[in-house]
């Protein structure tokens, strides 16, 4: 799928900074948890950075679909295109739980 190279680069750069690795090694198909090792808190921190980078607010109900690099990129593209629809959740079984799993 064609993606906006600027958005993709920004997201992979944010991920690279967070993970301390070369953004070029971060692939679209990589799963945030299973491939990149982000736990649920780390995903939330990443999305916080992305919200800042793109001046977005990601509502809680959208988090559930953001499980791979590609999902995040496509989601941001859609949001910037003012479509505001949730990202596709192709692998619901692998979704990390963004809320409700921490001790309070």
């Amino acid at each position: 799928m064609a993606t906006d190279p600027t958005i993709s680069l920004k997201i992979r750069t944010a991920l690279g900074e967070y993970l301390k690795r070369d953004p070029a090694t971060i692939l679209f198909t990589q799963h945030l948890r299973d491939d990149l090792g982000l736990d649920s808190m780390a995903v939330i921190e990443l999305l916080y950075r992305i919200e800042e980078a793109f001046d977005l607010q990601i509502p809680d109900q959208d988090l559930v679909g953001l499980t791979s690099v590609g999902h995040v990129v496509r989601y941001v593209e859609k949001r910037l295109g003012k479509t505001a629809s949730p990202a596709p959740a192709k692998k619901p079984a692998k979704q990390s739980k963004p809320k409700g799993n921490r001790k309070s």
């Binding site: 808190m41 939330i44 921190e45 916080y48 919200e51 800042e52 607010q57």
Partner: protein
């Protein structure tokens, strides 16, 4: 029989040095760690009555830690991690050989993660964008972030506690660690004091309380002067001290080097006033008496007191009044020093860093000077105070720590015979 408890490792992050050897060398030479505040940058100190503090210079956590544990915690917890790392290495304890459930962590912290706390609060109030509050804000400002991260760094799965009793926090941490090991609930407790809150809001709060020195802004190294006639308030400091407390049997089994025994502890409340001590000193004297009784030593056996001595007009006088009440003629024969004269008042770290000074006095036979004790105030003069380092055999040392909220702590250390 209750377990005896010893100190087997030390670590420190302070305004006069990071690392025990650097700290102790500077302390013995009477070096001041107090300077003009730079940590507010780019915020100006122009509107502040006091403009000096004991800051830890050039601290970058990644220089001291191999792991990423320091990255998502506030400055005070970074200090705690660094001091804990040094103390554990110093103790020779190898976690791989320990039962992790028998190793605890007890941290004393007064203010906690105020660096991030202030930044996030300011940003929220200015920008009114609640979604821009950092996701780590809550975990970072939660007061047990230091005890939590230390446990994670070393796999210490025993009791994990944070004691917050303002300026006496880490003296209480030492006492609670003593109890924990005595009662057989742990073999080892990584015992820490840490605070780092020389921040625009906290500092302004202490200024508004009229608690800080303001007469020596042009001569920062002179500002912290416990027991001196010209003292005019405390000087804020920051840092961390860590002591590895261990049951004597456990230390003996692994042939650990023992610095001293932690022999007694007392905790009391004056139930009097949030920030003012009882002027008659009765409760302070009572606290010291209880701690000595717990240690099984008499006032006549005490050789050294690491005084709480913050350099406030009332506080120093009350402490000396209490020392005279309890020790009577012995009071002028005891060596006394005020660690805060060198590094300022490190709040939640003060008990642990003072404890390290007391342990080193026992271990090395050296007592660090009380800086700026130039003109003894007759209301709180004691013969054992000195601007110079003292060489003296110390068999029993007492650590005092008093905190806002009307609470008092005293800890007794002894030369180890185990």
């Amino acid at each position: 029989m209750r377990a005896r408890v010893v100190v087997t490792g030390l670590g420190v992050v302070s305004p006069i040095g990071i690392g025990v050897s650097e700290f102790w060398k500077a302390a013995l030479s009477g070096q001041s760690g107090i300077s003009a505040i730079t940590s507010f940058d780019p915020f100006s100190t122009d509107g502040y009555r006091s403009k000096v503090a004991g800051q830890v210079r050039d601290f970058a956590v990644e220089r001291f830690l191999d792991s990423a544990h320091g990255e998502r915690v506030d400055r005070y917890a970074q200090f705690a991690l660094v001091a804990a790392k040094e103390a554990l290495a110093d103790s020779g304890l190898q976690m791989a050989k320990e039962d992790p459930h028998r190793v605890g962590v007890i941290v004393g912290a007064g203010m906690g993660g105020m660096v991030m706390g202030e930044r996030e609060i300011t940003q929220l109030y200015q920008q009114q964008k609640p979604h821009r509050v950092h996701p780590n804000f809550i975990p970072v400002i939660t007061l047990n972030s230091a005890s939590g991260i230390i446990a994670m760094a070393y796999g210490a799965k025993g009791p994990n506690l944070t004691i917050s009793t303002a300026c006496s926090s880490s003296a209480h941490a030492l006492g609670q660690a003593l109890h924990c090991i005595r009662e057989g609930r742990a073999d080892v407790v990584i015992t820490v004091g840490a605070d780092a809150s020389i921040t625009p809001l906290v500092f302004a709060g202490f200024c508004s309380l009229r608690a800080l020195s303001s007469k020596f802004n042009d001569h920062p190294e002179k500002a912290s002067r416990p027991f001196d006639r010209l003292r005019d308030g405390f000087v804020m400091g920051e840092g961390s001290g860590t002591l590895i407390l261990e049951s004597a049997a456990h230390a003996k089994k692994r042939k650990a080097r023992v610095y001293a025994e932690v022999a007694g502890y007392a905790a009391t409340s004056e139930a009097y006033h949030m920030v003012i001590p009882r002027e008659d000193g009765l409760e302070v004297a009572h606290t010291m008496r209880l701690a000595l009784a717990d240690a099984g030593v008499t006032p006549a056996q005490v050789d050294y007191i690491n005084a709480h001595a913050t350099s406030t007009t009332i506080g120093d006088a009350v402490e000396v009044r209490a020392i005279r009440q309890l020790f009577k003629s012995r009071a002028d024969k005891i060596a006394i020093s005020a660690t805060k004269s060198l590094i300022g008042h490190t709040l939640g770290a003060a008990g642990a860093i003072g404890g390290i000074a007391a342990v080193l006095a026992l271990h090395m036979g050296q007592i660090h000077p009380t800086a700026n004790y130039d003109d003894p105030d007759p209301t709180c003069a004691l013969a054992g105070l000195s601007r110079s380092a003292q060489e003296r055999r110390v068999k029993v040392a007492l650590l005092n720590a008093f905190g806002f909220g009307s609470n008092n702590a005293a800890v007794v250390f002894k030369q180890s015979t185990v």
